[in-house]
């Protein structure tokens, strides 16, 4: 049904990378490293799942990094300055994010504007608002935060599966089910395949667009909460440029940038690959951390080239099949 091969290649790259790291650094292959990989990239994983939906539907969401930044500031200010209970702050935040995403989706649909432009505007808007609220880093001292950071499922071998890692895994599971096993998910693929045809087949494109961007913004808000757990602070400059890391993770995960193809699990592995590169550089100790960007760039390029190749191959096999069936 959905061609599994790009995901297989992503998975192979991850496994190969992990094996190389393990051979080079004796302590690498441990539950500790794996658990840290999940924890350090939890927020990226959460937001990337939302981005996966958007890209498969044929869109793009550039606002997610700013929404994460906004979320951390919002949570920090409401809990610290206004004294709201964190859970209430989270609820309000997610509603705000949903409204923000819905508004972007509505503008995209109603005015028939390119998602690139609309979400670019959303990116500036969200970042601007978070600067308006505060330009300083605000530490979060709510008891919930220390409770969350203390929580962890001990793994054999010294690893600790943290709360935020669990949140990400839950989001990945939820995203997979939503994308692959529901009508909503099929509609997302349909829109990425051919918007006009999807509309002609009776799918409400407008409401789908709104819901897809809503999902992306809500997950970005959730990623912001996860990020605030991770740093225990709210800062308007946090997660600058994360939208690009997110898009990279989605594409490395085998999702076609033009839409219509992709998987949630692929995105998850794409996130882990980026994390793996970062971890390798940390282990090495001598390399500049900017090598992460360079390696990600090379991988991204390789994957896009690979996808082009596969699209072309698919075209060829189609011709063969057409001959065979008639």
């Amino acid at each position: 049904m959905r061609r599994p091969s790009p995901v297989m290649i992503t998975a192979l790259v991850f496994v190969a990378g992990f094996v190389i790291c393990s051979l080079q650094f004796p302590n690498f292959a441990s539950t500790r490293v794996v658990a840290n990989l999940l924890t350090d990239n939890a927020f990226l994983g959460v937001v990337a799942i939302g981005m996966t939906f958007v890209i498969i539907s044929g869109g793009i969401d550039l606002s997610v990094g700013s929404v994460i930044g906004f979320s951390t500031v919002f949570v920090a200010l409401t809990t610290e300055k206004l004294g709201l209970p964190p859970l209430l702050a989270f609820a309000i935040l997610l509603v705000l994010c949903a409204a923000f995403g819905a508004a972007m989706g509505a503008v995209i649909h109603v005015f028939d504007m390119p998602p690139f432009i609309v979400t670019l505007a959303g990116m500036f808007l969200a970042r601007g608002i978070s600067f308006l609220m505060s330009t300083e880093s605000t530490p979060i001292t709510a008891p919930l935060y220390s409770a969350v950071s203390d929580f962890g499922i001990a793994l054999p071998g010294g690893g600790r599966l943290t709360a935020i890692a669990l949140i990400m895994l839950a989001v990945v599971a939820f995203g997979s089910i939503l994308l692959h096993f529901t009508r909503f998910g099929t509609n997302v693929y349909a829109m990425g395949g051919n918007r006009t045809a999807t509309a002609l087949m009776g799918v409400e494109i407008g409401s789908m667009t709104v819901r897809i961007y809503m999902l992306s913004s809500v997950l970005a808000g959730l990623a912001g909460i996860v990020f605030s757990f991770y740093t225990a602070a709210g800062y308007s400059l946090s997660a600058v440029g994360v939208e690009l890391d997110t898009i990279a993770a989605v594409v490395i995960g085998g999702t076609l940038l033009s839409g219509g193809q992709g998987t949630a699990i692929g995105t998850f592995i794409g996130v882990l690959i980026q994390g793996l590169i970062q971890t390798y550089i940390n282990f090495d100790g001598t390399l500049s951390s900017w090598w992460t960007k360079i390696a990600t760039g090379v991988l991204l390029f390789a994957f896009i080239a690979l996808q082009q190749g596969m699209v072309r191959l698919a075209g060829r096999s189609r011709a063969i099949r057409a001959g065979g069936v008639t």
Partner: protein, 512 residues
């Protein structure tokens, strides 16, 4: 079957339908009656109003006047979706399904069987397989739709439409891109549906197919109803008269006698071929001669043309021009040697719809001269004016975006583009496809004229009558190989068919 269809009450009854676009009256008081269980061909030249009629019936366009009744009840659909709900489904030439989804998902999009919000994939596939088995289609429903041939995609689209309780099925040029086997498969499906009482409107340019499958014919011309006839009681010539509304002064079937002295060779290809693409062939093209390439769809006609033009690189053999061997690795090489190529897909490979007629005409000449030697505006105007006059492009306005011209005039502008480069060899791939009957005859006349001026032409066409009408020699292809050549005296539809040979030829001959 036809008598019973007559007796049935109309399934779809259109009365006095009118529709204008600004000053243009696209439909004028058109009546159309579709009975249950019949296959009704809707015919007319380009601009006759066929597509407007379909769009108005299916709610894509609003009507100005008139009524549409389905089963005696008046309906006013405001969108394709509403028409579908009412029971009228349309399947277009470009299948409007999703190639990236599985066949089953396409069939059940928006109405998948679910349990607790989760799609029951197994159940859906089982139902899909069952549904398609009803159309004698046994394929893997979990495979992406795009991995199947266009014909199968059409059947899937039809199956979906019918399953959504459609009782009127409108097929808009469904066979335009299908080969013979696929057309037959589609026709089987259509007959099966008609037997189940579904009324089918069949829009096509292929008259053979009209006679093969339809029970009844309605002809439109210039937005007016010309008449409705039983297919069996309407001789082909009468039909063409109804469509054209005038005597065909030059019938395309008639083969003109071309007086000819031994022409000088222009380009020749020896053992030219590409593995897995087309078998090596020998081909000689002479000045003042039209060589027709005949064969079934997929027999290697377009492949030959692309190789000759360098659009595909040959991996064996040699090419020579005026006796001198040349390098032919790219279309650029071909253009430098004075070759021109009008591809089959006019809309995607040929015209640049947003540019004006003038800009489209000078495109190839400018490319040939190179970027360093731009054509002045005066030269451009002069060239455009000359070819608009020469080829009778209408409207004669060089500054009109070419996308707004009719198919026939777009084709002429494409011809002009290559003629402006003063080529020695012109390759035309399906020059008359999608063009109405009138423009058809004109293009054929043009081909003859060009040839008399000493141009060498290589022309591909699916219409054998047409090939017979203008070719001096015919090369016959089958299964991606050149299998025969007919010289001037041997050319005729029966002889071409005989050369295409084997089982296919026998079947087509039977129909012809």
């Amino acid at each position: 079957m036809q008598e019973t269809a007559e007796a049935r009450q109309p399934l779809l009854d259109v009365r006095g339908l009118s529709k204008s676009f600004a000053a243009l009256r696209a439909l004028d008081q058109v009546d159309f009656t579709l009975r249950a269980g019949e296959i009704h061909a809707l015919l007319g030249e380009n601009g006759a109003g066929k597509s407007t009629l379909i769009k108005v019936i299916t709610g894509v366009l609003a009507r100005d006047a008139g009524t549409v009744s389905l089963d005696g009840k008046e309906i006013v659909p405001r969108s394709a979706k509403e028409a579908l709900t009412a029971g009228i489904a349309t399947v277009y030439q470009e299948v409007n399904l999703l190639p990236n989804l599985s066949v089953a998902q396409n069939l059940y999009l928006g109405r998948q069987p679910t349990r607790f919000g989760i799609v029951r994939d197994g159940e859906m596939k089982r139902r899909a397989a069952e549904l398609l088995a009803g159309y004698d289609l046994h394929i893997d429903v979990a495979a992406p739709l795009g991995s199947y041939s266009v014909a199968i995609q059409h059947v899937v689209a039809i199956a979906r439409a019918v399953d959504l309780s459609a009782r009127v099925l409108i097929l808009d040029e469904p066979t335009a891109s299908l080969d013979r086997h696929e057309v037959e498969m589609l026709f089987r499906t259509m007959r099966g549906l008609a037997a189940r009482g579904i009324g089918i409107v069949f829009v096509t340019h292929f008259l053979d197919q009209v006679y093969e499958i339809s029970d009844r014919i309605t002809v439109l011309r210039n937005g007016r109803l010309i008449g409705e006839r039983m297919t069996s009681a309407l001789p082909r010539l009468d039909l063409i008269h109804m469509m054209l509304g005038r005597e065909l002064s030059e019938t395309t079937e008639e083969r003109a006698v071309h007086e000819k002295s031994a022409a000088a060779p222009c380009a020749s290809f020896t053992n030219f071929g590409k593995r897995g693409y087309i078998a090596p062939f020998d081909l000689e093209l002479r000045h003042g001669e039209v060589v027709g390439l005949a064969g079934l769809l997929g027999s290697g006609r377009t492949e030959t043309a692309r190789l000759v033009f360098g659009a595909e690189r040959a991996d064996s053999g040699t090419a020579s021009v005026e006796g001198k061997p040349i390098r032919l690795h790219s279309p650029r090489d071909a253009v430098q040697h004075g070759f021109g190529y009008c591809p089959e897909e006019r809309k995607t490979d040929g015209i640049v719809a947003e540019l004006t007629v003038r800009e489209n005409i000078v495109l190839a000449l400018q490319a040939k001269r190179g970027i360093a030697k731009p054509l002045s505006r005066r030269e451009q105007d002069e060239i455009a004016a000359r070819f608009i006059k020469l080829l009778d492009i209408r409207p004669p306005d060089p500054e009109r975006p070419i996308g707004l011209l009719s198919g026939g005039n777009q084709q002429k502008a494409l011809l002009a583009r290559w003629l402006a480069t003063e080529p020695r060899l012109l390759v035309l791939d399906e020059p008359t496809r999608g063009i109405d009957v009138g423009a058809h005859a004109e293009i054929i006349r043009l081909i003859r004229e060009l040839c008399e001026r000493g141009l060498a032409l290589l022309v591909i066409s699916s219409e054998l009558d047409e090939i017979v009408a203008y070719s001096d020699r015919v090369v016959v292809l089958r299964d991606r190989a050149h299998v025969g050549a007919l010289d001037e005296h041997a050319i005729g539809v029966p002889s071409i068919l005989a050369a295409i040979a084997a089982d296919d030829a026998a079947r087509i001959a039977e129909e012809a």
